[in-house]
């Protein structure tokens, strides 16, 4: 089961903080992060990658769905 983090509408650094929290709590799960700005997309991607996840970005209407999987 993937863990979903809804970080839409949140400003810096909350999307990153919530992603990090989800990673710590669910180290073996796939994490899906919803964000709605380019800034958050970049920040969350950077933090997920630095924690050993590979990130796939899906563009939905006006928002991004970041699928973070462990390993590459």
């Amino acid at each position: 089961m993937a863990v979903e983090v809804d970080a839409r509408g949140l400003s810096c650094p909350l999307p990153v903080l919530k992603t990090k929290e989800a990673i710590t709590k669910n180290p073996n799960e796939e994490i899906i992060v919803l964000v709605d700005s380019q800034v958050s997309k970049k920040n969350v991607t950077r933090v997920a990658e630095s924690n050993g996840y590979s990130v796939k970005v899906e563009m939905l209407e006006d928002e991004f769905r970041l699928k973070c999987k462990k390993g590459d």
């Binding site: 839409r8 509408g9 949140l10 400003s11 810096c12 650094p13 909350l14 990153v16 903080l17 990090k20 709605d36 700005s37 380019q38 800034v39 970049k42 950077r46 933090v47 630095s50 006006d62």
Partner: protein, 366 residues
């Protein structure tokens, strides 16, 4: 090096370089850029406060907002959003300005002052980091001003349009009241009378706004992200500003370059330009700025850039800072090279208490 890292180093370096150049071309010493001081000058130019030595419509501020606005459209990142505790952000803007005008500078000028050898800025930096650390504690314990929502594009255009209006006021300098002066007031002496040419200052602002939008440069975010998640991305910009200003000031001296004002590296506490050496209040003033900036989600520079990029909450925070500057001067809360007035001390303590309350009372609902 990754493209992203090049961008943040470059942004910091360009800000630092322009800070030195703007002094050579007329800005006050150690004040090539200062978001707080320049917003205060704008408040004065609009007659919102009567401190005659700090009244001027600073094109740098207008340029930063418009540069970020252009970058937002060019990079398809422009995004009208708002509605996250807007009124709270307005008052946080006021408090950040109160703190900044006790130290006499925003976080950006703090680094520029440090690069000029002003050790008071080092005292302030420690206070700034302490304030950020308190903010990080709140972030870790669930602080959150709530989600922003999509807004109408019109709202997001309001502040950029106001900036164009200010530019017109600066260039046309209309006089409605020949006896009293106004509606626009320009300092005849003091820091407000020292400025680089309009076109130069505007271009410098546009460049900084553009780059800062691309790189997300934020003077408070660097320390915050390092303390919070050991992320060193933003702090690179912070370091680049300091390094380039420091090298620039020393080079100006070594090469014997002179300008309208000549920047210099002059290590010490006393006799620093547009500064005072009251350590406790330099420390606490910037602690208030640090904490307030974390609660706002970014330093004063970042608020301008976010506002240009469509964030109407940041636009309101900017307006809060301008009103805060008027309040600071009208209520005798602003420090000067002569020292820190007693009222300022109460205001900073009061501001810190309010920020602590904002931090403690705004948590995400489970």
């Amino acid at each position: 090096m990754k493209k992203e890292n090049i961008l943040i180093w470059l942004s910091g370096a360009v800000v630092g370089l322009l800070a030195v150049l703007l002094v050579l071309f007329g800005n006050p010493l150690n004040m090539g850029f200062c978001i707080a001081c320049f917003e205060r000058d704008i408040a004065g130019a609009l007659g919102l406060h009567r401190a005659a030595v700090v009244q001027y419509i600073r094109p740098e501020i207008l340029g930063i907002v418009l540069g970020a606005f252009i970058a937002g459209y060019v990079g398809k990142e422009f995004r009208p959003e708002g509605g996250s505790s807007t009124i709270t952000r307005f008052f946080l803007g006021i408090l950040v300005m109160v703190g900044a005008l006790v130290f006499l500078g925003c976080p950006l000028r703090m680094m520029i002052r440090l690069g000029g050898g002003d050790l008071n800025a080092l005292v302030a930096l420690i206070g700034f980091i302490a304030g950020i650390a308190v903010g990080v504690y709140f972030l870790k314990s669930g602080f959150d001003l709530g989600r922003a929502r999509e807004q109408r594009t019109f709202s997001a255009w309001v502040l950029p349009i106001v900036m164009v209006g200010l530019l017109l006021l600066l260039i046309l300098a209309p006089v409605f009241n020949p006896d009293a002066g106004g509606p626009i007031f320009f300092s005849a002496e003091g820091p407000g009378a020292q400025h680089a040419a309009v076109a130069l200052a505007l271009i410098a602002g546009l460049l900084v706004g553009y780059l800062a939008q691309r790189s997300r440069l934020c003077l408070a975010g660097g320390t915050r992200d390092w303390l919070l998640i050991k992320d060193s991305y933003l702090i690179k910009g912070f370091i680049a500003i300091l390094a380039v200003v420091l090298i620039g000031n020393i080079l100006v001296g070594v090469l014997g370059i002179t300008g309208v004002n000549t920047p210099a590296f002059n290590l010490g506490f006393e006799g620093q330009p547009v500064a005072h050496a009251v350590h406790l209040w330099n420390f606490l003033g910037m602690a208030l700025v640090g904490l307030g900036s974390i609660l706002l989600g970014g330093c004063p520079l970042r608020q301008l850039v976010l506002a240009g990029n469509g964030n109407t909450d940041s636009a309101v925070a900017v307006l809060g800072m301008i009103i805060g500057a008027a309040i600071s001067h009208n209520f005798m809360l602003a420090a000067s090279p002569k020292g820190v007035p007693d009222f300022a001390k109460y205001a900073v303590i009061g501001g810190l208490i309010i920020c602590l309350a904002v931090g403690a009372l705004n948590r995400e609902k489970a």
